[in-house]
Amino acid sequence: MQTQALTVRFGAVAALSEVSLDVAAGERRAVIGPNGAGKTTLFNAITGDLRAGSGGIRLDGHDVTRLASWRRARRGLARTFQRSTLFPELSVAENLGLAVRARLGGGWCFLPGGGGRLALEVAERLQQAGLAAQAGRPARTLGHGEQRSLEIELAMAAHPRALLLDEPMAGLSGAERRLALERLRALPRDMTLIIVEHDLDAVFAIADRITVLDHGVVIADGSPPAVRADRLVQEVYLGRPA
């Protein structure tokens, strides 16, 4: 996954200016930065939820800058959202069913049936997400931690080659954090992972490399120890005087 001089403007404000990222296949990259640094905007531009003003995006070497978001998803790009983006009125099992069906295809079948394989995988994923007991409940009745867990499982159901996690730990309690961290570390190693997260302990535990954004500009990019030692980063983000 690469971005080349990606720029996104909202009116006169540049939310991202000339952001270039080069994330190798299978790499785990964290993107950190203060609120409003453009982290979520970067995700939206990569997934196609937002059109880039200029610059390019490549997935597996293919230029996807002009592709619609669903086409990028078909190429193996999945994401989670900062605020859980579920199907609130549908049951947890139905939520997963939609995600699994989107991958298996067959949405153009106009007659009921053929759900055996789907049901099997949904049951597996319910276990995986620790939501087997909640399978029949509408997603909106889940607790916050359960919603975050379902959020990740929905993205994983696509069998993505690259997964973008937007603050997966947001709002989790201490115990939930440990569980979530364990789950993130157990994600398949061959999957490219880009994670935006404010929990720096989690970031340093997961990431192979860290990119630091501030005001839409990359101010540092390197291995976790290098970023931790970077003076500029300490100034704008880690809050310590240089």
Binding site: A73, L90, L98, R101, A102, F110
Partner: protein, 330 residues
């Protein structure tokens, strides 16, 4: 109420409707035909409104296209069989739904509503002012053969055998049975459709289109497909109306027709198919029963509509659910 109660109720309702020709006077059979046609129209809207979350205020465009298309074809091929005629009208409405849907579905919510309304009114304006020889202008296309007797000879024998009828019945009664068979077929088609992977996907798009796109689902195509199917079935309802009335005019395209079917769907309760069908019956009965002694039937209809929206948002179909929550305490 167990799970089997609802299908049993629907089955009993269909049987009761099927028995109508044996005991009801012709006047009521005629109202039954209009109610069934309106029910098909309302069920087609439910696919769009209830399952797809697309509040169309221009659904009459497709009903009217089917109605006028039916008259146009009949006047050029008098005595054409019902099945080819119905297929042609379905096709006309579906073809029309492709461009209108493709343009309207670019926006959502109230903008979608206004665009569909605008397209519907454009079509009405065209039909109203069209040259007399094309669509009959404001008079409409008159002289469509009062179909049943002619129809019967052309209709697939099987359909009539299925209905257990001799082709020599009273025209109105035969036509009632034909309409009932079509309405049940449409209901079954839609019930299967909303439970199919396509229907589930459509439901997912209604609930969270953004997420569905993130799953890699081309949501626009699904919404357009639902729009075309709904339009096609509305066209079928329009064709039946023309065959029953013996004429078609631009009034079937008018926005009040779109409004009336919306009222029927909401009063009946969307996302249930049966609800909008019940709502169509209610609206038609209110209209027919009251219009004979008062010009003020829209007033009562409006009051009923307001009452349902405020106090029974689930509509007629929600009554069962309500009685369940009142009687069963977990």
């Amino acid at each position: 109420m167990s799970r089997a109660v609802r299908p049993a109720l629907v089955g009993a309702g269909v049987l009761a409707l099927a028995s109508l020709t044996f005991w009801a006077p012709t006047f009521w059979v005629s109202i039954g035909i209009q109610a069934l046609i309106f029910a098909i129209f309302a069920m087609s809207l439910d696919l769009l409104l209830g399952y797809g979350g697309m509040p169309s205020f221009g659904h009459a465009a497709f009903y009217g296209a089917g109605a006028l298309g039916c008259a146009w074809i009949w006047l050029r091929h008098p005595g054409i069989g019902f099945l080819p005629l119905a297929a042609a009208c379905i096709g006309i409405a579906a073809l029309l739904a492709v461009p209108i849907g493709a343009l309207s579905l670019r926006v959502r919510g109230v903008y979608f509503l206004m665009l569909t309304l605008a397209f519907g009114q454009m079509l009405w304006g065209y039909a109203y002012q069209a040259p007399r020889e094309v669509l009959g202008g404001s008079d409409g296309l008159i002289g469509v053969g009062r179909p049943p007797l002619d129809l019967v000879q052309n209709l697939d024998q099987g359909l009539w055998l299925l209905a257990g009828l001799s082709p020599r019945g009273v025209a109105v009664r035969d036509f009632y049975n034909l309409t009932l068979v079509v309405a049940v077929v449409v209901l079954v088609i839609l019930l299967l459709l909303v439970r199919s992977p396509f229907g589930r996907t459509l439901e997912g798009i209604r609930e969270n289109e953004h997420r569905m796109r993130a799953f890699g689902v081309p949501t626009f195509r699904y919404r357009l497909a639902a729009f075309v199917v709904a339009g096609a079935l509305a066209g079928l309802a329009g064709a039946l109306a023309t065959l029953f009335n013996g004429f078609a005019n631009s009034g079937s395209l008018y926005w009040t027709n779109s409004g009336l079917v919306l009222i029927a769907a909401v009063v009946g309760g969307t996302r249930s198919l049966i609800g909008p069908a019940l709502g169509a019956f209610l609206v038609l009965i209110v209209q027919d029963a009251l219009s004979s002694f008062s010009q003020r039937w829209p007033l009562l209809l409006g009051a009923i509509f307001i009452g349902f929206v405020l106090f029974l948002p689930g509509g007629l179909a929600g009554l069962g659910r309500l009685s369940r929550t009142l009687t069963v305490r977990p």
